[in-house]
Symmetry: C2
Subunit: 421 residues, 2 copies
C-alpha cells in the first residue's frame, strides 16, 4: 500500500483526493484543521450578506465519503520531517510515501500585524461573518448617532487592495447601501455611504488588460465607488486610514491587499520566496524531494511563463489533480511530465449585474460577462444541493434587490444573552 | 402624536408593530439589541445542521420598512422609569406614552449558572451554531481518538429537559448520527452514538396528553433515543452529568430545561413571579400602569385558565397584536376588553418524518402530523424568500438525508487563521 498524505482540503487537496479516490494500492489520508471545503471565490458574497456560509461550504468528509480508500481527519499539522517521511500532527505522527501540501495562504499585513483587528481580511467563513457584522453594524450605528461628522465616518468604507477581492467587496457594499439598505433607514440616507477602494499601484486589477481594468473602474464609479490608485496605506487604526499625509476617516476598513503562504512551507531545508511560498520544481515538487508536492497558493511555480502562477482556484485545482496523477504514473512506472497550467481566463464581478472577463484574447464586460460569471461559478460550486440553493437565493435577490443574509451575529456565543433587552 | 415604544423584536414586538404600522397619530419606536427577528421554533434545525441561520432570521428593519411611522433602533434598554414614562437606553432616554415590553426569556440554570459553559441552551443563533459546532466536533474527535472508552463518551449526547425543545434536539441528533453521518466516518460507527433525554419530572412533554407523550417516547426510541424520566440532574461538568448517585459520561450536554424572563421585568414596584415574569392584569398591563403592556415570555398571565400561559410563539403573537389593538382602541375612546388567548393547539416534531399534534380534542401522530407541522412552520416563516429557500433545502434534505449546514465554525473570527495547516 502506498500512503499518500494530503494536507489541506482546499481546491488543490480536494481535487488531488478525487483523482486518488478508488485507486487500488493507494491509501489516502486528507488532514485539514477545518471540517469544510470552502468555495472562496464567493466568500465576498457572505461578507456582504448575499449568501449564507453553508451555501458556499461543504463538509470535506461527505465530499469524499464515497471513496473507501480515503480517510479524512480533522487535525492540525505542526511540521513535516522530510528525512523520516512523517508529518507531526496534534493526533500523533502520520507517515507517508507521498505528501501533497495544499495549505493555502493567509493575509499579509506587510509587517503590520496590528492592523488586522481594525482591517480584517477575507479568507475564512468567520472573517466573512465578522465583516458582515461590521458593515451592517456601521449602518445601525450611523442611524442611532446624531453627530453628522461621526455619521459620515461610520458610513465610509475603505477597502485596501485593488485586486479582484477588493473590487468585488467595494462593488457589493456600494450596491447594498444604494439599493438594499436605502429604504430601511429613517435618520440616515444610506445612499450617502462612501465606498473608497485604495490601491497602492498605478491601477486596479493589474492582472487584467488595461482597457478591461478601465472598464471596471467605470462600472465601480457608476455604483458610487471612489477608486483611488497610487494611494499606499501607511497606517490603520480605529478611526480610519492614513495615506501618507492624508487622513481618511472610515468606520470600516477591509483588507484585500497582501497574502502570504501558510507557514507550513517553512520546512528545514526547503526554499521559500518572500511571501513564504515554496519554490517548486517543474513537477511541483520540493527540490531533492520528488515525493513531496506543493500545490495551490502555497507554491511558487515560475517554470511556465517566468512569472509565478497566481493564487487562484483554477491553478490550485489543476495543481492538485496533476500531483495526484503524477503519483499514479510513478506507481505505474511511467515517466513524469512537467506541470502545465491551462489558463481558462480570469474574471471579476462588479455589483449585481456587471463583470469583466478575459479568456485569451476574448474580452467581455457588462451584463453578458456577469451572466457568464454566474453560470461558471454556479457550475463549479461543489455539491448539487448547494447549487440549487444558491440559484434560488440569487434569483430571488436579483428580482427583489433583497440580501437574504443580513444578520448581525455576535463574536462569541457566550457573550450574547438571549433575552431582547 | 402618541408615542409607542416597543422593546423587543420577537413574535410579540413584531406583531404589535405591524398592527400599529401606518396608523395616523401614532409614532412607533421598536428597539432591540439584535438586528434580526428570529423564528425560534426552528432554531433546533440550525443547531443540528439542517438549516442555516439566515434561513430562520430576518432583519427587523426590513420587516417593518414599509411603515413610515415606525422607527427601528438597534440598542439596549437598561431600565424603565414608569413615573417619568421614559426608557433609559444606551442611546439616551426614549419617552413614551405607551410601552409594550416583549423582551423574551433566557435560560435558567436554577442557581447553577456555572453549568452554562458545559451545557449551552438554545435561544439565539450564536447558541445554535455553538451547539452545531459541539455536536459535529464530538464526532470528529471520536474519529481521531483510539481509546474506546473516550470514544463512547464523546459519542454520548445528554439533553436535559423533556419539553418540545429537548425532544426535537434529541430526535434530530439521533437521526443525524444514524443516517447522515453514518456513511462519512471510517474509524467510528456513528450509529453507535448514544442520545439520552433526561427529564426530572414523571414524563416528557407534560403539556401534551399522556397518550401523545407516550407516542413521542415510542417514536424517540425508534430513532435510538434513551428517554429517562425522574432523572434530575444534580451536577454538570466537562466530562458529563451527575444524576444523584449515577454518573453519565457525555461529550456533549445540552440544556433545554428551565427558562427565566428577561431581567428588564425587574422594574421598581412591578411584581414578578419566581421565573422573573411580570404578573400582568387581564389586559396584559402592569398593575397601576395601564399604559405599560408586558407580552410573550416576559409576562405571567393567569386570568384565563388559572394557569400561566406557556412561553410559545402563538401566545406572544396574539399578545403583541392585542396590546397594539388596545392602544388603538384607547385612542378611539373605546373600552378595553380583557386579553383572550385562542389556543390553536400544540405540536412537537420527532426526527424528519414524525410529529405529535394536539388541536383541542384532535390528536395526531406520525407522518401526517409531521406534514402538518411542516406546512404550518413554513407558512409562519417570516418573509416569502425565506420560505422558498427553506422548502428547497428541506425537500433536498428529505430526499437525500443530507444536512446541508454541517459547518464547524470557530468561536472567534480572530482566532481562526485562514491557512489550512
Amino acid at each position: 500500500m502506498t500512503k499518500v498524505l494530503i494536507v489541506g482540503g482546499g481546491f488543490a487537496g480536494i481535487n488531488a483526493a478525487k483523482v486518488l479516490g478508488g485507486m487500488s494500492g493507494i491509501e489516502v489520508t486528507l488532514i485539514d484543521k477545518r471540517n469544510h471545503h470552502l468555495f472562496q471565490p464567493l466568500l465576498y458574497q457572505v461578507a456582504t450578506a448575499g449568501l449564507s456560509p453553508a451555501e458556499i461550504a461543504a463538509p470535506i468528509r461527505s465530499m469524499l465519503s464515497r471513496y473507501a480508500n480515503i480517510r479524512v481527519v480533522l487535525g492540525t499539522v505542526q511540521g513535516v520531517d522530510l528525512a523520516r517521511m512523517v508529518a507531526t500532527t496534534d493526533i500523533g505522527e502520520l507517515a507517508f510515501d507521498y505528501l501533497i501540501l495544499g495549505c493555502g495562504a493567509t493575509h499579509s499585513y506587510f509587517g503590520h500585524d496590528q492592523w488586522e483587528e481594525d482591517a480584517p481580511g477575507l479568507k475564512t467563513l468567520e472573517q466573512a461573518t465578522e465583516i458582515r457584522r461590521r458593515v451592517l453594524t456601521a449602518f445601525e450605528d450611523a442611524e442611532r448617532i446624531g453627530d453628522p461628522d461621526e455619521q459620515q465616518r461610520l458610513l465610509t468604507f475603505a477597502i485596501v487592495g485593488g485586486g479582484p477581492t477588493g473590487v468585488e467587496l467595494a462593488g457589493a457594499i456600494a450596491e447594498m447601501s444604494r439599493f438594499t439598505l436605502a429604504r430601511d433607514f429613517r435618520s440616515i440616507n444610506a445612499r450617502l455611504a462612501r465606498v473608497v477602494l485604495l490601491e497602492a499601484g498605478p491601477r486596479i486589477l493589474p492582472t487584467f488588460s488595461e482597457d478591461q481594468a478601465a472598464r471596471a473602474v467605470k462600472d465601480l464609479e457608476t455604483l458610487g465607488v471612489e477608486v483611488r490608485v497610487r494611494n499606499a496605506v501607511t497606517d490603520i487604526d480605529r478611526v480610519g486610514v492614513q495615506l501618507g499625509g492624508e487622513r481618511l476617516r472610515a468606520g470600516t476598513v477591509l483588507w484585500a491587499a497582501g497574502v502570504k503562504a501558510s507557514p507550513l512551507g517553512a520546512i528545514p531545508g526547503v526554499e521559500v520566496d518572500p511571501q513564504g511560498r515554496v519554490i517548486v520544481e517543474p513537477d511541483l515538487t520540493v527540490k531533492g524531494h520528488p515525493h513531496v508536492f506543493v500545490t495551490g497558493d502555497q507554491a511558487r511555480f515560475t517554470h511556465q511563463t517566468g512569472k509565478p502562477l497566481p493564487g487562484t482556484a483554477p491553478v490550485a485545482m489543476q495543481a492538485g489533480r496533476y500531483a495526484a496523477r503524477t503519483i499514479v504514473n510513478d506507481l505505474r512506472g511511467r515517466p513524469r511530465a512537467p506541470f502545465h497550467f491551462v489558463d481558462k481566463g480570469q474574471m471579476a464581478t462588479i455589483g449585481r449585474s456587471r463583470a469583466i472577463l478575459e479568456i485569451g484574447s476574448l474580452k467581455l464586460g457588462g451584463f453578458l460577462a456577469w451572466l457568464l460569471w454566474l453560470v461558471i461559478h454556479i457550475y463549479y460550486l461543489t455539491g448539487s444541493d448547494k447549487r440549487l440553493l444558491v440559484v434560488t437565493e440569487w434569483a430571488w435577490s436579483y428580482a427583489t434587490f433583497a440580501r437574504g443574509a443580513r444578520l448581525i451575529t455576535g463574536r462569541d456565543w457566550h457573550l450574547t444573552k438571549s433575552s431582547r433587552s
